[in-house]
């Protein structure tokens, strides 16, 4: 009755939003992270196994332990949560969420292709899949069971409704370089994501804004990364995703041409997230802390609109953002503790 999936129609907002809000209420708070920082890895596994991750921890604890257990359990839990939400929504809402979650389809596609090209066996590739998007475990395993990479690409195009340009495929067949394919998918994802949003109402406009800011952040991140590798100018522009909110083509070119980001401070200053990366730019200028600053800004953005418009897509997206963030935080803690980092250092890396 509530899980019916239909094309068209507005979607079952009251039901889906109520479920998601109840789920969000169970997410962890800042104090919980402080406590987790004092625990050992088995204690963290047991702890999250008693607060939202029961099923996955119990299912995986026999096979894994330590960091592996936490990593697998958190991703598989997130996949179950997201697919669960996707499965109970209908109509336009379902379409919007499917478009949002497509990033996980892309993630899985990359995992499969990379795994195949490195000659990993199917079982170890399977462990890294996060079936949180439109493609479920079975669909992904079908992809995985295919012999050649060309087949996988073609099959993915069919099931995920992506049309790969033929020259891209032939370029890939020659070079076996995944990055262009990945870059195409990312652009295509944001393109279809933006197209899935009908900006005729306030809440969807807010959502659209949020996505466009995400594009900005991704673009700055790309520019930074390429700069670190010494790539500048036109070469960078190939990877810029169109549709950003504050960074248009001109600004992107300026940033791409600049010697270093600190040299482009004047161009960055009017951006919304400048305050969050100012310190990192001035002092450390490290890629990691600049990206962390932008992530924190982005999460904060989600918080500002999460209470508005209770019957819209916003609370659901907000939940997904926070759930993903929680999972990332837990993984950061687990990995940090495992590699013997100090609690204070780990805490800095958390996005709370």
């Amino acid at each position: 009755m509530f899980g019916r999936k239909g094309k068209g129609g507005k979607g079952n907002y009251p039901y889906a939003v109520a479920r998601v809000k109840a789920k969000k209420a169970q997410l962890m708070g800042e104090d919980t992270y402080s406590k987790m920082l004092m625990m050992s890895l088995p204690e963290i596994s047991r702890f999250i196994g008693e607060s939202g991750y029961q099923k996955e921890i119990a299912a995986l604890a026999g096979r894994y332990d330590g960091v592996d257990l936490i990593e697998h359990a958190t991703y598989s839990n997130m996949a179950n949560y997201f697919r669960g939400v996707l499965d109970v929504t209908t109509g336009e809402l379902h379409e919007m969420l499917a478009a949002y979650l497509e990033k996980w389809d892309i993630w899985n596609f990359k995992v499969i292709l990379r795994g195949k090209s490195f000659g990993m066996d199917a079982d170890s590739i399977k462990e890294d899949l996060v079936p949180a998007g439109k493609l479920d475990q079975q669909a992904l395993e079908r992809l995985l069971s295919m012999e050649s990479e060309e087949e996988i690409i073609a099959a993915y195009g069919r099931v995920a409704n992506v049309i790969f340009p033929t020259e891209l495929i032939s370029a890939y067949e020659e070079s076996r370089n995944l990055s262009e394919l990945e870059d195409f998918l990312e652009k295509d994802h944001y393109d279809s994501l933006l197209r899935s949003i009908d900006p005729s109402s306030r809440p969807t406009r807010l959502y659209q804004d949020y996505i466009r800011k995400e594009i900005d952040i991704t673009n700055v991140e790309t520019i930074l990364k390429l700069k670190a590798e010494g790539i500048r100018g036109e070469e960078v522009m190939k990877y810029i995703i169109p549709g950003g909110k504050q960074i248009d083509k001109k600004l992107a070119t300026q940033l791409a041409n600049a010697e270093s980001l600190s040299a482009a401070v004047n161009d960055l200053a009017p951006l919304d997230f400048y305050d969050d990366i100012k310190n990192a730019l001035d002092e450390t200028n490290s890629l990691r802390s600049i990206v962390a600053g932008m992530k924190k800004y982005h999460i904060r953005q989600a918080k500002t609109f999460s209470h508005l418009y209770p019957l819209s897509v916003i609370p659901i997206i907000d939940f997904m953002i926070h759930k993903e963030n929680e999972v990332n935080n837990i993984r950061i803690i687990a990995r940090g503790l495992n590699s013997g980092l100090d609690a204070d250092v780990i805490k800095e890396l958390l996005v709370i």
């Binding site: 104090d31 402080s34 406590k35 004092m38 625990m39 088995p42 921890i57 995986l60 604890a61």
Partner: protein, 677 residues
């Protein structure tokens, strides 16, 4: 009506070396409601690390839970294990042994399941292939020939006839998709695949092998059957396993959980390099005894200090440090009212400084329920069911439902017998003015006249007719509503008074009390005038005047804080009062249904002799009343709750309190044997 128990805050300070001893002492005394420490509250103090051993216990626990999940265990030990035995067995490694076995079997099972599903896919493909007249080896091994084998939506034979040298084998059946094998020159394969995809080609992967596919399919089927047999055997093994070790696993789970919980207490308290500080709440009356008990147990390694007794004024909470803001609520009720704490908690736990409405529930919930059911016969199963629930139900919910049903049933009987004077929707006594409703026990049983005492205990000599004295019943329900609402506003006033003082209580709640009374008086006078066309004079005039004056006083008192809300809310209050007419309306709708069923069945039974109509009439009677009875649980139960939750509790109840939960060990599957204490 009572406030939650008064709470005092204490702090326990000791040396860190003896922290484990302090935790043990706290769990034994079962009195301290721990307040979690948050980093940054005090200089030099941080939340602690779990005790030694907690890591190992966590690791074990993870694996035990995984094993329990593999076995599908939810069992609890029927016979609790002695704690000593469990501890000995855990440290002897019995848990690890069992786990190893469980996981080995589970792995085998998972592999089997995987293998079976693979084979089933192969079998499906083979049985599709067996529809074609070709042997397996013919499908592969060509250099210049391309083979397409698959299922189609439509038969492609004709379309392919244009291709040179193409050879097509098809099997077309009515109810199934066509299967075809197409052999073309390798150079034509692009053309062929274009044609095929027009016919919705979907490839069948050809398994390796030789000979006719049908024969192979049989072999595969035999293999599947073998594997399934093995799978069943494993299932039986696992069931045996659960039988044998389930209780032990449940008991170890519990014991280790307790160890972990205790071991992780440091995460909730403040520690420095050498000391620890534990903050917590204790019921005020027990502060001295708790202090004495704890210090005796701690033997000088830690000290208990009294900090404050939290009053009920709101500002005391507001001014406290964030983590001490809310004192826990320990509901304080007699044995009877305590049974109704559950419905209160359904809404929320009362705040520390507000009245606990459980007693209000205990009085009105069964009363309203009984009034709505109002039938001596329907009451009896409620009473029996309720008693059964109170005695036997394991879960708190069902005990609570049982309690409501039991007392509700008693009220239903009282109302049914002594007020309405009816049973199964039929009155005991038929007075003359009920002539429209002919079905009653007196005529049915042919009783000429009842003894005088019987007639005298039923009001009016015949009881209140639910479908006759309609106006009277509606009025009665409205009066009940007024009383109920008045109590609700009064409680709100009291809450406000103890939290903020008299002035605020008057402004926030006192005004509304006046408005309620004023509104009732005005409305009463108006109905008399409008509906019964009485002249405005004498008592009626004074009522109207007094009502208006009260209304004005109330509005003036409430105006400073409520502003225009005062006027806007007035129709709301009238609506709330009228909402209680459901008490009568639901009773009436049940009476109406009962009347219909009774009428039908009695006509059928009384129609004369025919056995079929006899049975049909009896069935209608039985099923009809059963239906009304079941509906009574739903409608009367839900509406009684609703009147409490919405109409009444909205006027005063805030909720959101923290329930008092002292540190203590709850054992279900394990027990402490006397000799080890």
């Amino acid at each position: 009506m009572s406030l939650p128990e008064s709470m005092s805050r204490v702090v326990i300070v000791g040396s860190r070396a003896h922290l484990d001893k302090a935790i043990e002492a706290l769990y034994e005394s079962e009195i301290l409601h721990l307040v979690d420490y948050t980093n940054g509250s005090d200089d030099g103090f941080f939340i602690g690390r779990p005790l030694k051993g907690s890591q190992e216990a966590s690791e074990r626990l993870l694996r035990i839970r995984a094993a329990e999940k593999e076995l599908g265990l939810k069992a609890s030990a029927e016979d609790p294990f002695p704690v000593k035995d469990i501890r000995a067995q855990i440290s002897a490694g019995k848990v690890d042994e069992i786990e190893k076995e469980v996981f080995a079997v589970a792995d085998e099972r998972n592999n089997l399941v995987q293998r079976i599903s693979d084979l089933e896919a192969i079998h499906r493909n083979l049985s599709l292939l067996s529809r074609l007249p070709l042997d397996m080896e013919l499908y592969s091994g060509y250099d210049s020939v391309k083979v397409f084998i698959g299922t189609f939506k439509t038969d492609p034979t004709e379309a392919l006839s244009g291709l040179e040298n193409a050879e097509v084998f098809t099997d077309v059946r009515k109810s199934e998709a066509p299967v075809a094998a197409v052999f073309v020159k390798a150079s034509d394969s692009d053309k062929a695949s274009a044609i095929l995809s027009d016919h919705r080609y979907s490839e069948i992967p050809v398994p390796e092998g030789s000979g006719p596919p049908g024969l192979m399919a049989e072999k595969v089927a035999a293999e599947i059957a073998d594997l399934n047999a093995r799978l069943e055997e494993i299932g039986r093994n696992m069931a045996e396993f659960s039988e044998k070790h389930g209780a032990f696993l449940a008991a170890s789970d519990e014991e280790l959980s307790i160890q972990v919980e205790k071991g992780e207490i440091p995460l909730r308290i403040a520690t420095s390099d050498y000391s620890f500080v534990i903050d917590g709440w204790v019921p005020s009356v027990q502060v001295e005894s708790a202090k004495a008990e704890l210090e005796a147990k701690l033997e000088g390694t830690a000290y208990v200090e009294f900090q404050e007794t939290r009053g009920r004024k709101q500002h005391e909470s507001d001014e406290a440090e964030p983590r001490f803001k809310t004192a826990p609520s320990k509901m304080k009720n007699g044995e009877m009212a305590a049974k109704f704490e559950y419905p209160t908690k359904l809404v929320s736990t009362p705040k520390y400084n507000e009245l606990d409405p459980s007693i209000l529930m205990a009085v009105f919930l069964p009363f309203f329920f009984g009034f709505m059911v109002g039938d001596a016969a329907y009451a009896l199963p409620f009473i029996i069911l309720g008693l059964y629930g109170i005695k036997n139900a394991k879960s708190q919910e069902f005990r609570a439902i049982g309690t409501v049903l039991f007392f509700g049933g008693i009220w239903a009987f009282i109302f049914g017998f002594f007020f309405f004077g009816e049973m199964l929707g039929m009155h005991f006594i038929a007075p003359d003015e009920f002539d429209a409703l002919t079905v009653n026990w007196q005529d049915l049983l042919g009783i000429a006249s009842y003894p005088d005492w019987f007639v005298s205990i039923i009001p009016g000599g015949h009881g209140v007719g639910k479908l006759v004295d309609v106006t009277f019943l509606l009025k009665v329900s409205v009066y009940m509503g007024i009383v109920h609402l008045f109590i609700a506003y009064a409680i709100g006033f009291y809450n406000s008074y103890i939290q903020h003082g008299l002035k605020e209580a008057m402004q926030h709640n006192g005004g509304w009390l006046f408005i309620l009374v004023g509104l009732v008086m005005v409305c009463y006078a108006m109905t008399e005038v409008l509906f019964y066309s009485k002249a405005i004079e004498g008592v009626l005039l004074y009522t109207l005047l007094a009502g208006v004056i009260l209304l004005l006083i109330g509005a003036v008192i409430a105006w400073p804080v409520e502003k225009a809300q005062v006027i806007m809310e007035m129709p709301g209050i009238v609506g709330n009062i009228l909402s209680y007419t459901r008490l009568a309306a639901i009773g009436m709708s049940k009476a109406g249904m009962a009347l219909a069923f009774n009428y039908m069945s009695i006509i059928m039974i009384g129609s004369g002799g025919d056995i079929v109509s006899y049975i049909a009439g009896f069935l209608i009677f039985l099923i009809g009343h059963l239906m009304i009875w079941v509906l009574a649980i739903l409608s009367a139960g839900l509406h009684a709750l609703r009147l409490q939750f919405v109409e009444a509790m909205n006027k005063f109840f805030v909720g959101g309190g923290d329930e008092y939960a002292p540190l203590m060990v709850k054992r279900k599957n394990t027990k402490i044997v006397e000799t080890e204490v």
